[in-house]
Symmetry: C2
Subunit: 427 residues, 2 copies
């Protein structure tokens, strides 16, 4: 894409009321726009990143057999009040509902999760042991009426969430799938570039079970505190970090305290949302409640976390897997230097033809200094500069965003290099 065509522009300053690093860089780079406290629009560059994150998640969900759907935001009270064994409609029990009214006076809520409606829907499709097990997931906009929204896109009033639900005949069958999701989540965080600082973490199971598993990424911006056991590559959330729990889990040795942010959670729900309605007949004709699990990742939160942990003072450093573009091509033409512009144009066209995602800074009247600063802020992994100097030295000055020194390459060398990169990626 030509940067001169992009309607967004970079900014020197973030909004004064923005305290989080992820929002600061993402707003300054034109990735997102702050619509109000706790609600952000995704602009072209930001949407490209978000879509890449969602595609990684989608691939991993499909690989474990997840079937994709999209449910509704609007919710009927009945389902949440008394269809299953708990009341999650009452504001006394759930404190972050957004509620609204139909024109005819009926009340509706905006879903903050989907256990109730999905279990209810599946009553129609599940009747026999032959129908189980399976799993269903969606990328769907959740609404949560939170009071504290100061963490940029890591905690917002509305956000896209990948929520996966699993349905098994019994706990043993559930456990097999649960382990598959665990591995899929490990793959996702690794592919998104934060695997090395993300820990499988024991946390409270809430009302559902003794423990749940979270994935926590270490960052000073985190709202949680975890205790990391490096030997076993595992952590315990402060909320359940007691001697009893350590013994329970068989974890001895030393623990390191760290601030962290939850980037995923996986829950064993058991029969909480299946009893008494979502049941199946087993081989003997007996009716049993379905055994469930639920598994969440917020792709926008993940994007925010990546910015928190993979950036320097100048801006973002995107991992290749989720970068908005593979290459940032900069044309540094002093005044009307036709040779530079036409050579940069030729490179741009060659990259497009080779199916390489390139952002081309073809803007006129913008200084080299500004172009470099913008390129560092946007954080595309590879920067390719065409200037009077680079031409003299024989071509294009190529530099990785994360490195200090660049090197001069020719156009064929650039193309070869990028194609090799992609071939490695797709393995």
């Amino acid at each position: 894409m030509r940067q001169s065509h992009l309607f967004t522009k970079t900014r020197k300053e973030a909004p004064a009321d923005e305290v989080s690093k992820n929002a600061e860089f993402l707003i300054r780079g034109g990735f997102i726009y702050k619509e109000m406290a706790g609600a952000y629009a995704f602009l072209p560059l930001g949407l490209r990143v978000l879509n890449k994150i969602m595609n990684i998640i989608r691939e991993e969900m499909n690989a474990i057999g997840g079937q994709e759907i999209v449910m509704t935001s609007l919710q009927r009270p009945e389902l949440w009040k008394s269809h299953f064994e708990q009341d999650r409609w009452d504001d006394k029990n759930v404190d972050n509902w957004f509620k609204t009214k139909l024109k005819d006076g009926g009340e509706r809520g905006l879903a903050f999760t989907h256990e109730e409606p999905i279990s209810n829907m599946l009553e129609q499709f599940v009747s026999s042991y032959r129908d189980l097990p399976f799993s269903v997931y969606q990328f769907q906009n959740k609404f949560r009426n939170e009071k504290r929204v100061q963490a940029g896109i890591m905690r917002t009033l509305e956000f896209i969430m990948k929520d996966l639900y699993s349905f098994s005949k019994n706990e043993a069958e559930h456990n097999i799938f649960y382990e598959k999701v665990k591995q899929a989540y490990i793959n996702i965080f690794k592919r998104a570039g934060i695997g090395h600082i993300t820990y499988l973490t024991f946390a409270s199971g809430g009302v559902f079970s003794k423990f749940s598993h979270e994935f926590q990424t270490i960052t000073p911006a985190g709202e949680d505190v975890i205790y990391i056991n490096e030997e076993n590559n595992i952590a315990i959330n402060k909320e359940v970090f007691t001697d009893d729990v350590k013994k329970d889990l068989g974890l001895n040795g030393s623990f390191k305290e760290a601030k962290a942010v939850e980037v995923g959670n996986i829950f064993t729900l058991g029969t909480k949302f299946s009893k008494p309605h979502l049941v199946f007949e087993d081989e003997t004709g007996k009716k049993n409640p379905v055994f469930m699990g639920s598994y969440g990742i917020g792709p926008a939160r993940l994007m925010g976390v990546v910015v928190e942990v993979l950036s320097d003072d100048q801006g973002i450093i995107w991992p290749e897997s989720i970068a908005p573009f593979q290459v940032h091509l900069l044309a540094l033409a002093n005044g009307e230097d036709e040779e530079i512009l036409s050579y940069a144009d030729k490179i741009y066209e060659s990259l497009l033809k080779a199916n390489i995602e390139v952002l081309f800074d073809d803007r006129e009247g913008v200084s080299a200094g500004e172009k470099f600063a913008d390129s560092d802020l946007l954080g595309i992994p590879l920067r390719a500069v065409v200037s009077e100097r680079s031409l003299k030295e024989g071509g294009i000055e190529l530099k990785k965003r994360a490195e200090e020194k660049g090197k001069i390459v020719s156009l064929p060398e650039l193309l070869k290099l990028l194609k090799t990169d992609r071939a490695l990626d797709s393995r």
Copy 2:
């Protein structure tokens, strides 16, 4: 995909309260699930169709230079009350808001459209004539608090909408882009299989302008009445069908009355949502309001319309371009006929390897009659049957959903045929 793995099942009956044909077939086929009046979930088969429709629209929007973003559902009252020259917050002026409250007491609305927030956002990015023209679009979930929701997925309380907004220096520049959108919309409806019964239609411009353009598809399920002028391949909405208007438009000759449903609209907004804040400096240094247009298509409504107009008594007949799968492979094995099952398996694997989208009805204990009925209901364009008879006759019985008679082909012939089809599609 193996049909035995699909968690949805077909149904003989639609819900008793469902009166529209599109909802009836889509629910019976397991494409959608009725969450409540006016709100449907999209299940795996339905989501595949919806995504194909959205991708067609996306390609056509990108082709005219549209830049994709996603804005928020939650809306601040200030923007809608008094930031621009009209008040669209007051329920007296707009009667289909869903409104809700923040925990701290502030009020929020759920966007039914996005003129106000997008214009407001762009104040940050537009300052000079050099920034114009451009266009921005999104696929975003809209909420409309409608009293009448009886048309299946053609009119719902929440729905995904593609809304495109254009920003030009003046009316002349706007008109050039407006014509491009017109052509893009014609392409979209043609590609989605309803071009031959969809008419560019003059309608009321509402408060914005004398006329707007709608795209109306003829169907008895339509809520609108249009008058079609076949000679000019154009129509006039009943709401503005007067002698004066006919004269205005220079349309003589005969008009045919028809019921129709609006599948798209394109609006010239002028400076209604730019004055007084979204302004740019022209070449002479003078400040002018930006000249705007807005352009909508509801992908789910489009899907509903396709079902209304392209179906028979047995079920849906999807156009190839938006069908959930290209081929429906049916294995008709009487009892434990291993030869048939293993041959069908081999075909399935070969189709997958050739990147052909195939739904494989590998269900056991389901009669041939049921499989044929389900196949007609689901409406995949091509049906490939493997049975004792087809094997005797030399292979696979291939039949188009829209045709009565099939023919016997070998596996290599099937593969060749499908690849040729795709090559033609991608031209």
